[in-house]
């Protein structure tokens, strides 16, 4: 074939097929997202289903998020005292803990925790519903699975993520404050006054907008991977792993771009 070996042609074919599959997957996931957003915005609304998902994704994640928040704040305080003492700036530990948590670590670590805990559960649940024909059963009963299953989960993710990040930040600041003042003997007035002086509402907006975006990514990826999972235990296993990995990587990538954009928009 014009000098090209059969192996080369096969390799090019494989590459082409992979590119086509990836493009098709992207297209499908965007169509899926569009359908879910339309379902969220148009009646019939099912508040009971939304509350159930808020319970499962939000309320049931509170303890683990608070626990991680507490220790993240505590570690930040310990590291802050150690690092800032080299510059004679330990007074700024409160600022460092608060700004790090509000602007960055709160939204990101909360998102990673929720993706690991609830995202995998959402994908596995939807995948199992698919392979046990529950999704087909919904359609046979003239119920749109996107409206009934996906819309409440995506919306719950968008609502729950900022609330959980808020809890993470609040508990984290308390953890940092406790360690800095009780264990590292820092003056509590200094910790709080420096924090108060350095944090303003734009930092909170920054964290809030990030949390909303991460909640959106969480819901979109978890629902899409569950809805399109393959058959059998292996299919669900693969979908769950892909869901957690894809959402986690997406959160970190989007975090970089959002930070750059928000710094430019809010702080210049």
């Amino acid at each position: 074939m014009n000098g090209l070996s059969a192996g080369t042609v096969a390799a090019v074919e494989r590459l082409g097929k992979q590119i086509l599959d990836i493009t098709e997957g992207w297209g499908r996931s965007w169509i899926f997202l569009l359908r879910t957003l339309v379902a969220i915005c148009t009646p019939p609304f099912r508040p009971y289903l939304l509350l159930t998902q808020l319970m499962q994704i939000g309320a049931n994640s509170m303890v683990v998020v608070a626990l991680i928040g507490m220790f993240t704040g505590a570690v930040l305080a310990v590291q802050g005292v150690y690092t800032l003492s080299k510059f004679g700036a330990t007074a700024y530990v409160g600022s460092m803990v608060a700004l790090s948590l509000i602007r960055e670590l709160g939204p990101v670590l909360t998102a990673l925790m929720v993706i690991g805990r609830a995202g995998s559960a959402v994908t596995a649940e939807l995948g199992i519903m698919k392979i046990t024909e529950q999704v087909d059963a919904l359609r046979s009963m003239a119920v749109d699975p996107v409206r009934y299953l996906m819309a409440p989960r995506l919306l719950a993710g968008i609502i729950a993520m900022p609330l959980l990040a808020g809890i993470f930040v609040a508990v984290g600041i308390y953890g940092g404050y406790f360690v800095a003042t009780s264990l590292l003997h820092m003056n509590s007035g200094t910790f709080l006054s420096q924090m108060d002086a350095s944090v303003d509402w734009r930092d909170v907006y920054c964290g809030f907008i990030k949390s909303l975006a991460f909640g959106f990514i969480f819901g979109w990826v978890a629902c899409y991977k569950g809805y399109t999972s393959g058959f059998g235990a292996i299919g669900v296993n693969k979908a769950t792993t892909q869901s957690v990995v894809t959402a986690s990587v997406a959160v970190l990538i989007v975090d970089y771009f959002l930070t750059s954009i928000l710094n430019r928009v809010l702080f210049t």
Binding site: E133, Q134, D136, L138, S140, M141, A142, D144
Partner: protein, 249 residues
């Protein structure tokens, strides 16, 4: 009446249905039988409109479900169907009562009281009263099948589709399910389509039988006619023999 006209379906290079034609008469129960993997369940999904054929048409009464362009239109046609899935496909998060009430809550504008009385009636009719508050995973597969049947019948559909109704059941429970289907058919007078490879058990509930093989209907008739068929493939399948033209995949 359900009319299947020249329906084709393939997955990649594998041809599953190659121009199948079948008429399912009103008030009768037709069994679609055949070895595993010949496309029986695919045909059922095409009838339900949750899968689209590559070519051909499927009429449910006066409506062509394959020509329905929107999900709303398909849902309107599906409103006349009830389906008992292979493993019942009950919603895990709902109780037995809620599963049975589900189609009425989603599809109709009945009041809470009207829904309650219909669900209570169905629970009593299928001897499910004591399981009403259980979750599906807390009851046996036989009970789940009964609940699936109750859910399929609660909207009083004109046609009920049964996908392998006694697969995975022991002979006693399997027989109970067939008895139940027969009793329900006499009571509600629906048109039935039963997908099965359980021979001869499925003949108990069938007025007509159509055997699917190699992408097309190989034989069709009453159970008695099928038993007398001279086709060696039909005889091999009915006898469950490994010797004959049907190659085991």
């Amino acid at each position: 009446m359900i009319v299947i006209e020249n329906v084709h379906k393939r997955f990649g290079s594998q041809v599953v249905l190659n121009g199948v034609n079948l008429t399912i008469e009103d008030g009768k129960t037709t069994a679609i039988v055949g070895p595993s993997g010949v496309g029986k369940s695919v045909l059922l999904k095409l009838i339900m409109g949750i899968m689209a054929p590559d070519a051909g048409q499927i009429w449910i009464g006066d409506d062509n479900i394959t020509a329905a362009s929107t999900e709303d239109e398909r849902n309107r046609i599906r409103g006349r169907l009830g389906v008992l899935f292979q493993a019942a496909a009950l919603l895990d998060s709902l109780t037995i009562y809620e599963n049975i009430a589900f189609p009425l809550e989603q599809r109709t504008k009945l009041s809470r009281q009207q829904i309650h009385s219909r669900v209570e009636f169905m629970l009593t009719s299928l001897s499910l009263e004591s399981y009403a508050l259980n979750l599906p995973q807390q009851v046996s597969i036989g009970i789940r099948k009964r609940v699936g049947l109750a859910r399929a019948l609660i909207t009083e559909p004109t046609t009920v589709l049964f996908d392998e109704p006694n697969t995975g059941l022991d002979p006693l429970v399997g027989q109970e399910v067939y008895d139940l289907i027969r009793a329900c058919r006499e009571r509600w007078r629906f048109t039935g389509v039963v997908i099965s490879h359980e021979i001869p058990e499925v003949f108990q509930v069938s007025d007509r039988v159509a055997m699917l093989l190699n992408g097309d209907f190989r034989a069709e008739g009453t159970p008695a006619e099928l038993r007398k068929s001279a086709d060696p493939a039909v005889q091999q399948f009915l006898k469950g023999s490994t010797d004959g033209p049907i190659k085991i995949q």
